[in-house]
């Protein structure tokens, strides 16, 4: 979107601002190959927690039987104990949906759109007369409010 805006402004106002250099920099950045995916963010945290829980299990004095024929309550108790030790709340644990949230194409629910108040609008365009300048200032303010 930023590249498109700059390209348009360049088309109608060549030389007004140094858009040509900015366009070339953006084009060069977009032409770069995508970096190799590395474990980061939420997947990294989840992987760390799993190893940590496994480590916690190996420190237990008693042997716990786990399997389809065993009672699941002993595992639940161990999870609760480990969570309490780590200060982790188990309320609303995403037992079924967590796998969706770590997929690379997962899009988190969007926050409600925040428009500009009259005061913010006036502040953004204060002292500006040029249409393109006002556009960029309003856009910047809206992006600031909406991430």
């Amino acid at each position: 979107m930023a590249l498109e805006a700059l390209e348009y402004i360049y088309g109608v106002r060549p030389g007004k601002v140094d858009t040509r250099t900015a366009i070339e920099a953006l084009r060069a950045a977009l032409a770069q190959p995508e970096p190799e995916p590395v474990l980061s963010g939420l997947p990294m945290v989840i992987a760390g927690a799993i190893f940590d829980f496994g480590g916690f299990l190996t420190t237990r004095d008693n042997v716990v039987e786990i399997g389809a024929t065993a009672n699941a309550s002993s595992m639940v108790e161990l999870i609760k104990e480990w969570a309490a030790l780590r200060g982790l709340s188990l309320d609303d644990a995403a037992v079924l949906s967590w796998q969706e949230t770590i997929k690379p194409d997962y899009a988190p629910p969007q926050r409600e759109w925040q428009g500009l108040t009259d005061e913010e609008f006036n502040e953004a365009i204060d002292g500006l007369e040029d249409l393109a300048d006002c556009w960029m200032a309003i856009e910047a303010k809206l992006k600031e409010k909406n991430g």
Binding site: G11, L131, C134
Partner: protein, 55 residues
């Protein structure tokens, strides 16, 4: 409506308070909102026309 659409719509509605909607940039913005595929086709053509500095 995506956040990009909302951003564009609000930019246009705010700019409309300040500028004549018949000036080229405002017309362009309106077309982008109302006929995005047509706008994109035009913009792609415009983009091709921007000279690339030879190194």
């Amino acid at each position: 409506m995506t956040n990009d659409d909302k951003l564009l719509l609000e930019c246009y509605s705010k700019l409309k308070l300040l500028f004549n909607p018949d000036v080229p940039l405002m017309k362009d913005l309106r077309q982008r909102l109302e006929k995005p595929s047509l706008w994109r086709k035009r913009n792609d053509k415009r983009r091709e026309e921007i000279p690339v500095k030879s190194s």
